[in-house]
């Protein structure tokens, strides 16, 4: 591998890492700062998932360039993550609705009880 492509690769990997760090941080801040349960749910389930995804892409690039083969383990991890994260969010939200957790406007209480 030439020095040029090596540097290109490093830049690419760094970009992905930086982006993923940004999304993860944003997700974490969201989890801590947003006003109610429903909005907080966005942080760890959406932003952070994206962040981890970025990190996995960086890993694919880095290890594929180093080894002989395309590194596909990370793709599998990504799949697991992208299947489970929305499901978790969905289940958490449903549980919250069932338990009538109040939102910032106090709205959930008025809606029809989903568990009935």
């Amino acid at each position: 591998m030439s020095a040029m492509s090596a540097m290109l690769l490093e830049i690419l990997v760094s970009l992905f890492l930086l982006a993923s760090a940004f999304f993860t941080l944003a997700g974490s801040i969201g989890l801590a700062r947003l006003p109610d349960f429903y909005t907080r749910l966005h942080g760890p389930t959406k932003a952070t998932t994206l962040g981890v995804g970025g990190m996995l892409v960086a890993s694919v690039l880095y290890f594929s360039a180093r080894g002989e083969w395309l590194s596909l383990n990370e793709l599998l991890i990504t799949m697991f993550l992208f299947i489970t994260a929305p499901i978790s969010a969905y289940l958490l939200a449903q549980a919250a609705l069932h338990l009538r957790v109040r939102d910032v406007s106090g709205g959930a209480d008025k809606s029809k009880h989903p568990g009935q």
């Binding site: 799949m79 299947i83 499901i87 969905y90 289940l91 069932h98 568990g115």
Partner: protein, 926 residues
């Protein structure tokens, strides 16, 4: 090889009668007879060699590390006993065919009988004392089964338990004695032991060793004061009494003394202990026998008395006495077995064994009566019958005794007295049963038994007569070689003749005969024998009281330790661990090595802080159970991150997976439990617990510090070096698990399996009403299996299974392995249960967890056993690197098959635990 076959035929062939019983009782009896006849033929085939004085030996290594080898020898003594065991065994099998009723499970009887036969043959043919002991215990066990054969009778069960407790306890004493003997000699091999007479008798351990061995022999041979189990064992079917409790098993104690006679005998301790016990037993049991109204009771006490006689003879320690002892073993076996069989016939055909009701049977069964009379005459020691010859030799030796000094008359006098009693009870057996008026109120009219039921008795009675009249032509060669191997040297001069002239022993016989007749008729007609009722023996009372005391003690101890309080168990466990851990510190002082444990980096610092905080939070909020569970999860996550930090990916993976599984487990439990822990314990109790916890924590910290600061010269270097050349894998952790320390892992998966089966046994099938409302009195969500979750989990399943297979396959070289892969599979499967419900999942996933556990353990065990076929020790692994055309290099190690066993066990145990717990609160599926 012949010797091994002789023992293995009955032991392995024991299954045949149980199978053959499908084709009827005759088939079952035939199978048992066949399994006995073949080794008998094998034995008889060796007769010329043994009678010529030869000894046949054979041996295989078994557990050389503890001196236990499969070595056998067939010498004169072993030949005599094997002949008795197989010969009388064959007769008993024939007899039992007619004795057992239609309702009795015949197959089971023969199975037990053959097992006993094999064990008994093992005793008499063993050339290794430890091996002998193994067979010794086997006879106790099979005797237990045989005595308790009629398990619906309470006295049979009690008799079986008593016999097992007494002979088993004696077996323990014998084990201790044999271990001492082996310690003195340095070997358990009989030839070595038998050559070490001076060494043994000079040892300071001689007396304790002798006492322990004698305890074993005395309990087995029912010597006073341990005799009382034998009369209670009479609740066994009569064939068993004839076989075990007169001819063979009770002779095991005598046999042992005969075996060890060359090295143990001759000392004063031997003389006083053996002949003293024998003398007391001889007279006491003969006296008691006269007053027994039960036919078998009389015979049982007579057996005890005769065993005492044989003991006494061996105790006298003169060569001729030993010859007489061996001779009496033969004679007693023949006449007592036939008497028991006759008693069984009487019981069988008249429905009673009570001599107060059995009278005048001569008219109904003259043939049986004649046979019984011959055998009883032999028991009494009447001339022309075999019992007379050995009794005469006994009287002679009693007179020759020198050790007793001025009290020389005691043994001859006691011998004559016992002779008087023996004649009296023998006479009673005949006169009371066959004459003495008419039968009283018998359940059925007595008549002669089937033809073939009498044949075994006839054979034995003919032997009694042949030996009694022509001793020199019949029994002499056998007696010579048997006595020769007891003495281990030249035989004394003796003459097996009926007539020795008018001698003092003859006078004693005459006194015994006439005295016995007098005593019996005096008892019968002057003191009304039938009205005398004996109180139960004091030995039995003592036994029962001891048993009650032991039961009470164990109840107190168990009740104190296990009162049902989990807190107490935990406190006790932690205390014991603390003490065990503190002991070395207290003994060796505080240890702190020279090595610096190094500075902590920032990342580790944060992890450590989180660990401490989450652990503290768990303690603070432990009454809020769900919250505490979250904190426990954080702790587990931190621990696995610390493993990653220290480059232990396998441990980190395992930790995370175990964390997942245990969270599911606890959530399943919490579902059915209160959400908060009430305050129940007092302040002092909490202070105690806190003290224990702090002490345990400090102890763990101290240990870690000691390990971290000691200079690095551990075994890990060796493991790192040897992993690839020795174990064929580059993942050292996995190679350690499945190869270097494979035996540990094998033990651990068995522990896992037992734990899972234990959980299943305790709570499987338990159903708890699911709470209708949640703890905050809200209804549960109606949709307990959301569609999205169900669909997603089904997509995930194949992916997760693929990952687990991947982890399993690469485990030997990269992070992974059976344990981790098993946990992944289990989590993937459990997800299906959680997402779609138990009924849905079980309809599609038909896994028999219990069977799977068994298969897993079996695969692991078979991998270990397989290495034996290559002459290597258990669990030696082999590996090879194969080059395949397309796939490239394929490393294969036998350890991977072992890992497969681990995998299956882990999957099945985890599933079994979680599913069992999950089913408790499961509601009916909609």
């Amino acid at each position: 090889m012949t010797l091994l076959l002789i023992i293995l035929f009955p032991l392995l062939g024991a299954a045949l009668p149980a199978v053959a019983v499908r084709w009827g009782r005759n088939a079952s009896a035939g199978a048992a007879a066949g399994v006995t006849a073949i080794p008998l033929a094998l034995l008889l085939f060796e007769t010329p060699r043994v009678l010529a004085g030869g000894t046949i030996e054979a041996g295989w290594r078994w557990v050389p590390a503890i001196g236990l080898d499969l070595t056998f020898r067939l010498d004169g003594l072993g030949f005599l006993f094997a002949l008795l065991i197989l010969g009388i065994g064959l007769l008993v099998i024939l007899y039992a065919r007619y004795y057992l009723s239609q309702r009795d499970p015949v197959g089971r009887f023969y199975v037990f009988l053959l097992l006993f036969m094999g064990a008994m043959l093992g005793i008499v043919l063993s050339d290794n004392l430890l091996l002998l002991l193994v067979f010794w215990e086997l006879t106790s066990l099979s005797s237990f089964l045989l005595i308790g054969y009629w398990k619906h009778h309470a006295d049979a069960r009690q008799g079986a338990r008593m016999a097992l407790a007494i002979t088993g306890g004696g077996g323990l004493a014998l084990l201790a004695g044999v271990l001492l003997l082996g310690h003195i000699v340095g070997s358990f091999e009989l030839p070595v032991v038998l050559r070490s007479r001076e060494l043994i008798q000079g040892s300071p351990l001689y007396l304790p060793m002798l006492t322990l061995i004698l305890l074993g022999a005395f309990t087995k041979s029912a010597q006073f004061p341990f005799h009382f189990w034998l009369p209670h064992a009479m609740s066994a079917p009569t064939p068993v009494s004839a076989y075990l409790h007169s001819a063979t098993m009770v002779k095991a104690g005598v046999f042992l003394l005969a075996r060890l006679y060359p090295v143990l005998s001759g000392s004063d301790a031997w003389f006083y202990l053996v002949s003293g016990t024998g003398l007391v037993t001889l007279v006491f049991a003969a006296y008691v026998a006269m007053f027994k109204h039960d036919l078998k009771g009389l015979l049982a006490y007579s057996t005890i008395s005769h065993l005492g006689l044989i003991m006494l003879l061996f105790g006298l320690s003169t060569p001729l006495a030993a010859v007489a002892g061996v001779f009496h073993i033969i004679n007693h076996a023949t006449f007592k077995a036939s008497l028991f069989m006759a008693a069984g016939i009487i019981d069988h055909e008249s429905g009673s064994r009570d001599m107060r009701r059995l009278n005048g049977l001569w008219k109904y069964m003259p043939h049986t009566a004649t046979l019984a009379m011959v055998a009883a005459a032999s028991m009494a020691g009447v001339p022309l019958f075999n019992g007379f010859l050995s009794k005469e030799m006994f009287f002679t030796e009693a007179l020759e005794l020198h050790q007793t000094g001025t009290l020389w008359w005691i043994v001859p006098a006691a011998a004559t007295l016992a002779g008087v009693f023996a004649v009296a009870y023998s006479l009673r057996f005949i006169h009371d049963v066959f004459f003495n008026g008419e039968p009283v109120d018998l359940p059925r009219t007595p008549h002669e038994p089937p033809r073939w039921m009498k044949v075994p008795v006839e054979i034995l009675v003919v032997l009694c007569l042949l030996v009694g009249i022509f001793p020199a032509y019949t029994v002499a060669p056998l007696l010579n070689v048997a006595a020769g191997s007891v003495l281990g040297g030249p035989l004394p001069e003796f003459d097996l003749a009926i007539w020795h002239g008018f001698t003092f022993p003859l006078l004693m016989s005459v006194v015994a005969l006439s005295g016995g007749v007098l005593v019996y008729f005096a008892l019968q007609y002057r003191f009304n024998l039938h009205m005398i009722v004996q109180s139960p023996s004091p030995g039995r009372r003592f036994y029962n009281r001891g048993l009650a005391w032991l039961t009470g003690l164990s109840e107190i101890v168990t009740g104190g330790l296990q009162n049902g309080s989990l807190q107490r168990y935990l406190a006790l466990l932690v205390t014991v661990i603390l003490l065990a851990g503190a002991f070395p510190f207290w003994q060796l002082g505080w240890y702190s090595g020279s090595r610096s444990p190094g500075m902590m980096d920032g990342g580790s610092g944060v992890a450590w802080l989180l660990l401490v905080v989450s652990a503290a939070c768990t303690v603070i909020w432990h009454r809020q159970r769900l919250l505490a569970l979250v904190f426990v999860g954080v702790t587990g996550l931190m621990v696995s991150l610390i493993f990653v930090r220290f480059s232990a990916p396998d441990l980190a993976l395992t930790q995370i997976l175990v964390e997942v599984v245990s969270i599911i487990l606890l959530l399943l439990a919490l579902y059915l439990l209160p959400q908060t822990t009430p305050r129940e314990s007092s302040v002092t109790r909490r202070m105690r617990d806190a003290g224990l916890a702090v002490a345990a924590g400090l102890g763990a910290a101290g240990l870690v510090w000691a390990v971290l600061t000691r200079p690095q010269d551990t075994i890990s270097g060796f493991f790192l070096e040897q992993s690839v050349p020795g174990g064929g894998g580059s993942n050292v952790v996995n190679v350690i698990l499945v190869d270097f320390r494979g035996f540990d892992t094998f033990g651990e998966i068995i522990v896992l399996a037992i734990a899972a089966l234990g959980i299943y046994a305790m709570i499987g099938g338990l159903r708890v009403e699911r709470p209708a409302l949640d703890p905050a009195r809200r209804p549960w969500a109606a949709d307990s299996h959301p569609l999205l979750l169900r669909v997603a989990s089904r997509i995930l399943l194949p992916l997760a299974l693929m990952v687990s297979v991947y982890l399993l396959l690469r485990g030997h070289n990269e992070p992974g392995g059976g344990f981790i892969a098993g946990l992944v599979t289990a989590v993937a499967l459990i997800t299906q249960y959680l997402a779609s419900g138990i009924a849905w999942t079980e309809a599609r996933l038909r896994l028999d967890h219990q069977r799977m556990i068994g298969i897993g353990v079996l695969i692991a065990a078979l991998t270990g056993v397989a290495s034996w076929f290559f002459g290597a020790p258990f669990l030696t692994s082999a590996f090879a690197h194969w080059h395949l055309p397309v796939l490239g290099e394929l490393p294969l190690a036998s350890a991977m098959i072992f890992d497969l066993g681990v995998y299956l066990t882990v999957v099945a145990t985890t599933m079994l635990m979680l599913v069992t717990l999950g089913k408790i609160g499961a509601r009916e599926e909609v």
